[in-house]
Symmetry: C2
Subunit: 355 residues, 2 copies
DNA sequence: ATCCTTTAGTGTATCGTTCTACCAAGACCG
DNA sequence: CGGTCTTGGTAGAACGATACACTAAAGGAT
């Protein structure tokens, strides 16, 4: 096992003290002459020096790692989410330590503790049912937290947050169906344990109210997830729900699904019953995962711009870690849009083509 | 920022030396009386002691983190892969540090170096084009490597490996189509940069040879990926490829896709051209991702048992890290099976139902 | 009473960096 | 010429846990 190159070997080769090498490493270049600096840099590259993060962390209490706690990487949406975070973090020289929370608060708490003991001081939480006071305790301890998809109000909390306006999303999806002429619209979801899901439902309700359609509770289907995670089984739940809703006496002609996985599951459920999409039933999803465009028919859905969201989220988190940013919680809400494809049409008709 | 509890605070409260606390922490319980042990444990829980991994790592050179380098988490197969690794690692008290290699050797190398400097001494590589000698260099340095989906021969290398027999997989997929009566069978892939892909192709060829069908190079479509990653765009490539293959003068009646994403993309391509699945063209995939079962029609595919594979892989990697296992490279090949759903049927016929 | 073992611990150097002091030597000023 | 800055460094004590090398006390054998 080859020994790692240390700062003192570099110092010895360059003929300076370890302090000077450390100064260079930490950007305090004003404290040395250009010649010295060049000598050190030469020595570093000759020896192939690689900083020892453990030692550095022991001293500073910081490590260039950000934690990421999400419900489940097995869901393609979260896969893309992780990808986006990872990319943004890497651009700033940070690594990502991953945790699957499985929407289980206890497990998320365990992760957070473990992350802390690894010297991680910045964590991004995906959509989660974490109780606010638990996060708060972590924040008091010095952890920087960035929350995705949880409703926060500016000044209301000490945490930064980023999300799409889920209410608007739910409204847009429902509104699109309404504009097409649908009157009976179903809502398909799994356990409503996160604020984002509740907000999407709220948007759905508001759209119906604005269209002066009486609310029918029988049209809202909230599936139970056996494991409680409600992610991998999303498609399965969507399928079951679509079957339940469509086999009712007065089936809906349009379905708003809580996310694309549910929507794609609803495709299967509709097919099981012999319904064609969109001729017999229109379906709209949420997220715009890659598969949405490949599905048959391509899925109309609400798009979340995760790449840009995560770039911003990771940016402000790292700014906080590095002390560049301080001050009150920064809460951003990103505009959202519907992308219309071919899973929606006028009730009992041929596909609706956007142009 | 609350100070972390250290081993000496625990020692002070329990009235022992730090050495004794350390001994307890490291399982050397034979070196102390039951009473002392109980006092220390009480003190630890009273203070809420959490070990500082940085300090420990600085001393021991080890850290309870395993690295995971995969092409792209955005692909649902790799998402499930990460999930499986994470679960297995967590059960042993390890965390996972993630890296998206993007099938780019330079980037993978950068990751590996970075992982090393974080004290990570065990890494799992997903399917990758890494040159063997580069990995070898890492191994010499003391890194324990576990390679997924790369063909290794027992005794041939110093690295552990796990994979499915991709040749058999390609054979099984092709054979299934042959058994159904297909004679013109296309092969759909992206860049053949990994051994697993080449092996699947080999299996396809062998099946045709065994069936005494003359090999027609026009039936093999190898797409180019614009970014080189060939993952996110898998479905897109599959779509293009299916269109190319199916619009030929003598189109194939069956298609073997390099993985499920390509297969699902091929669904879209076939539809673009007005082909029905499986009546006009049969399609078989590889991996058995969650969406395979939800697709319309449900996809016949070769299943990779990733959960059990990763449990074994993580197990032997950690055994190596902890010194429990040593000796020659451990290469395991896991049996594979085809799961027949409704995307395959006899040529020009109604769906084939397994029972 | 002496010597040897065993039990139950402890003292302390060490891992690789950082960072607060501190300092030497020249430049500048009046 | 003495004093004060400025520039370009250096010394060395941390950070928290580990593990090697000890040892004090008690028990057993002779």
């Amino acid at each position: 096992m080859a020994k790692a190159v240390t700062i003192q070997e570099v110092a010895a080769l360059a003929g300076v003290s370890t302090s000077t090498v450390s100064n260079l490493l930490n950007g305090r270049i004003s404290r040395m002459s250009a010649a010295t600096r060049a000598r050190i840099e030469l020595a570093m590259s000759q020896l192939g020096y690689q900083a020892n993060h453990a030692a550095r962390q022991l001293k500073t209490g910081q490590s260039p790692i950000i934690g990421l706690v999400i419900p489940s990487v097995a869901n393609p949406f979260w896969g893309a989410f992780v990808q986006a975070v990872e990319e943004a973090a890497m651009a700033r020289g940070y690594q990502v330590l991953l945790g699957n929370g499985g929407r289980d608060p206890r497990r998320e708490q365990r992760y957070a503790e473990s992350l802390w003991s690894h010297g991680v001081r910045g964590v991004i939480f995906g959509s989660s049912p974490l109780s606010l006071d638990y996060i708060l305790r972590l924040v008091e301890r010095g952890l920087h937290v960035m929350v995705f998809d949880r409703r926060l109000h500016e000044g209301d909390t000490v945490m930064d947050g980023i999300s799409v306006d889920n209410r608007v999303g739910g409204y847009l999806a429902t509104r699109h169906l309404l504009d097409l002429g649908h009157r009976r619209i179903g809502f398909l979801s799994g356990p409503l344990r996160t604020s984002s899901r509740l907000e999407r439902l709220e948007g759905y309700r508001n759209a119906l109210i604005d269209a002066e359609i009486r609310h029918d509770p029988a049209l809202i289907w909230v599936g139970e997830s056996p494991t409680g995670a409600g992610d991998v089984e999303g498609a399965e739940i969507g399928r079951t729900g679509a079957r339940a809703l469509l086999s009712a006496e007065h089936p809906p002609t349009g379905l708003v699904a809580i996310n694309d996985l549910y929507a794609l599951g609803a495709y299967a459920g509709a097919h099981d019953l012999g319904f064609r999409i969109p001729e017999d039933v229109s379906i709209v999803g949420f997220d715009d995962i890659t598969m949405a465009d490949m599905a048959n028919p391509p899925l109309t859905t609400i798009k979340q711009p995760i790449d840009s969201m995560m770039q911003s989220a990771v940016g402000t988190l790292i700014d906080r870690l590095e002390g560049t940013r301080s001050g009150p919680a920064h809460v951003v809400t990103v505009p959202i849009e519907i992308v219309v494809r071919n899973s929606t049409a006028q009730p009992g008709s041929r596909p609706y083509r956007p142009d």
